[in-house]
């Protein structure tokens, strides 16, 4: 288990456009300096948002990583929920899930799909 290292990698990636460009070009090389397990590396490269949430990645860090991968908000929420259904409860940390795996917190009828065209600026 090296949740600290997973989060440290994501923290560095989230705040650096230069690192994001390097990671896009060569994921493995950017991950090398971090002491990660094979499970964690696979989850990051996929990216498996549900698995990362299950591992305990802080949502504030994971949210940015999902946005980096252009994962839409409702899709991001569902991927985390699917991860809990598949892998079990969050292993550690304070970003756990309190609702059920089949619950819908915000009905999709009030949450239209977001597109770049209709975003405000």
């Amino acid at each position: 288990m090296s949740l600290y290292a997973v989060q440290k990698f994501l923290y560095e990636l989230n705040r650096s456009e230069q690192m994001q460009a390097r990671y896009t070009a060569d994921q493995a090389s950017e991950l090398t300096p971090f002491e990660l397990t094979d499970e964690e590396i696979a989850a990051l490269i996929s990216p498996d948002i549900g698995k990362l949430f299950h591992l305990g990645v802080n949502g504030q860090i994971l949210m940015h990583f999902a946005a980096f991968h252009q994962i839409e908000w409702q899709d991001y929420l569902q991927r985390m929920r699917d991860g809990i259904a598949e892998h079990g409860p969050v292993r550690e940390g304070v970003y756990a899930m309190t609702t059920g795996v089949t619950d819908t917190v915000v009905p999709k009828t009030t949450a239209k799909e977001t597109t770049k065209e209709n975003r405000s600026s």
Partner: protein, 274 residues
Amino acid sequence: MPLVFAGVCSHAPGITGRSEQADPDVRNRFYAAFDQMRIDLEASRPDAVVIIAAEHFANFFMNNMPTFAIGMADTYEGPIEDPGWLGIDRQRVPGSADISSRFISEVMHGSDVSYAEEWKFDHGIMVPLHFLTPSYDIPIIPVNINCQGPPLTPLHRAWQFGESIRAACDAMPERIAVISTGGISHWPATPDSGKINVEWDLDFMDRWCRNDRDALLDYDDLTVYADAGQGGFEIRTFIAAAAAARGAKGTVHFCEPIPIFAVSCTVATYDLSR
């Protein structure tokens, strides 16, 4: 110069990033409250605005997590988030190393702080600035209280920090405004996003408006986590604003849940005139 303005507001990224997904009526009334806060802030003619935020791993990580931190640079950049995702374009935000340096020196008389000559703004600061200083023409002094990486800043230390900020504002020749940002109850960036404990929020804001120190500090992290989620830890910023207002009474201008924004969207200010 005495403190010229004190208030609190929400900062959730959905406020700008998912604006079109919210109920238009509620959203527009919330935006109007934000705009009135901007008008009132401008009327206070601040020379600098202290933004007390609960940052989300834009600058500080568990390798060196400060209990309190204050920025000390002439310019800042943000948002770190994808601009399209947040709905806010990348900006260079003005600061003032000179004002910050003197301000930090004063705060240090009452509280231990880390200072930072580099600071990247995330949604915790950029969303409020988007509404409150949309021209990015007032120097910002960013402040952070650790609400993210346990062990967290104790609540009574957040109160003391607010007192130190007030003392620093009063000692400065400049006109300083203080705005704290954060959610009240919320479960941000989790599958529970959109879950809001409205009753808890209104009770907290009642304590905030009364500026009741004992009531504001009558929480512990375990019950906050259970009742208000991990996002509820951000009450530290509101508590600091209350202490900075030094007994002033507050008014809630808007506090209604907008689930797609993940919080009870809130705008509130203290009356410093009495």
